[in-house]
């Protein structure tokens, strides 16, 4: 295992300490329980938007805390959902009197831990709503299963809902918007290499020199199938087809597109991926209105990419363009 770390068991707290030192004007970090929160919290009269999940997906979620995005983020151990006390304490610190919106990725652990936190908070009289992101088309959706994983759409939802909260949306309207975002986002990812969880010390899965894994999640979970390495354009086709046919996206749709690095894939390759995504959208009459290209929701140092398309409307686009000032996403201010 080759990583720039000290003790594998201290990766999360030391990284959080680095974040706190790096962005004192934007965020603060609370330890034990761990959460990252806006330096200017609480914002009176604003719905507090909080999220969280296992660590190892940086910049998500802590890098998205700040004006126009999250009020707090709760990082669990690497690839492990956070515990209810984190969300409970974070919510109490950032709550501005207008309720709490939780953005939760659809993993059994995340759902249960956020549910327990919501129960605790509701028990103390807080208003809590949650938005569940389950956008990963690599997972067959079925009423009788866990449903889909939450992946790329989470980043877009955090931006859009954070902007809406900043603009004064009340909790109900925010939750409805959130569900609309969740319903209109689709994502699929692939890996060229596995990642290595620090305290495990060896790769989660083994891939041959000429193999790739299609349909992976963001936790080093094996994907849907494994096949011989292909040129980028064919890989993009393999990811785009299930995304496009699932919603389905149609000619005339206006989308926000994210081409995401799983952590180890550099920008020069992401642009090659984006080139093909844009060509496919163009051919189908789908308009990419905005894009994000870079490492936003990663799996440690895994090489690979995920593509997210979110079907938008004027409201979502306006919220997308709203200023944001966080460690990892910043524009308009």
């Amino acid at each position: 295992m080759k990583k720039l770390i000290n003790n594998p068991l201290n990766v999360v707290p030391e990284s959080l300490e680095g974040m706190a030192r790096a962005h004192p004007g934007l965020i603060k970090v609370h330890f034990d329980p761990n959460f990252v929160y806006r330096a200017d919290a609480p914002r009176e009269g604003k719905v507090a938007v909080i999220s969280g999940g296992g660590s190892g997906h940086e910049p998500m979620h802590g890098g998205f805390v700040g004006y126009g995005m999250l009020d707090a983020a709760c990082p669990g151990a690497v690839f492990t959902s956070p515990t209810p006390d984190q969300m409970y304490e974070a919510a109490k610190v950032v709550h501005g009197g207008a309720g709490i919106l939780m953005i939760v990725k659809n993993y059994a652990g995340d759902v249960m831990n956020f549910d327990m936190a919501a129960d605790l908070l509701r028990g103390e009289g807080f208003q809590v709503e949650s938005v569940l992101i389950a956008d990963d088309v690599a997972v067959e959706s079925s009423l009788y299963s866990q449903g889909r994983r939450g992946t790329g759409t989470t980043v877009l939802a955090e931006k859009i809902l954070g902007a809406a909260a900043e603009q004064g949306y009340d909790l109900q309207r925010l939750a409805e918007l959130g569900r609309r975002v969740a319903e209109n986002g689709r994502c699929m990812g692939m890996a060229l290499t596995s990642c290595t969880v620090p305290h495990v010390g060896k790769p989660t899965f083994e891939l041959g020199e000429e193999e790739m894994e299609i349909g992976i999640g963001i936790h080093g979970e094996p994907g849907r199938y494994r096949e011989p390495l292909k040129p980028a354009d064919e890989i993009v086709e393999r990811l785009m087809e299930p995304i496009l046919s699932d919603l389905p996206f149609r000619s005339g749709d206006r989308v926000i597109c994210m081409v995401n690095s799983m952590g180890g894939t550099p920008l020069i390759e992401l642009y090659i991926v984006y080139r093909k995504v844009a060509q496919i959208c163009e051919e189908r009459g789908i308009q990419i209105m905005r894009n994000l290209i870079g490492p936003y929701i990663t799996s440690l140092e895994m090489a690979g990419t995920s593509i997210t398309l979110l079907r938008t409307d004027d409201e979502m686009l306006t919220l997308w363009d709203h200023p944001v000032k966080t460690p990892a996403l910043r524009w308009g201010m």
Partner: protein
Amino acid sequence: MPLTQEAVRAWLQRCAAVLEENRDYLTQLDAAIGDADHGVNMDRGFKAAMARLTTLNAPDIGSIFKTVGMALVATVGGAGGPLYGTFFLQLGVKTAGKQELTPQDWAEALEAAVNGVIARGQARLGDKTMVDALLPALEAYKAALQDGASFVEALARSAAAAEEGMKATIPMVAKKGRASYLGERSAGHQDPGATSSYLILQAAAETWADVS
């Protein structure tokens, strides 16, 4: 002879030891169909629970279980945290105020604990989760008592049923939890949560083998 506070603590201690021993094994099982953290999470959680127990002056058995449940909720994370947290919190509810547990007390406590896990996770038998070890273990325990088996014998049958249930998860296609995202590819692997459940119930059978 019913279970004392001491016997309960001895079981929990043994759970912690067994989960530490099996940390890498559980993590490897989780790597195959999940995210390679189940062993590390359970080990971290039980260590934290044991630390809290050391300083706990427990008025009753219920508060021991409650302390363990709270510790697991706050330190395990993932799916295992809320599920095992609920398991022990429910054991705590049913044993509140008790200084001793009879075989019947244990039947009721275990029933509440397993039902708590099912309520929290919504998994059914056959979904390839810890429920596939827990539910058969509960049924076997209850059936053994009904058959007039001794406490020790009932615990042993319960652990054996958990083991069988654990092994039965191998061919299953997961319907709940992280392994469900794999679809058909989840078949052929033993569920890590069912495995840790077996280890915990097996620890009970072993620790309490000289109770009766």
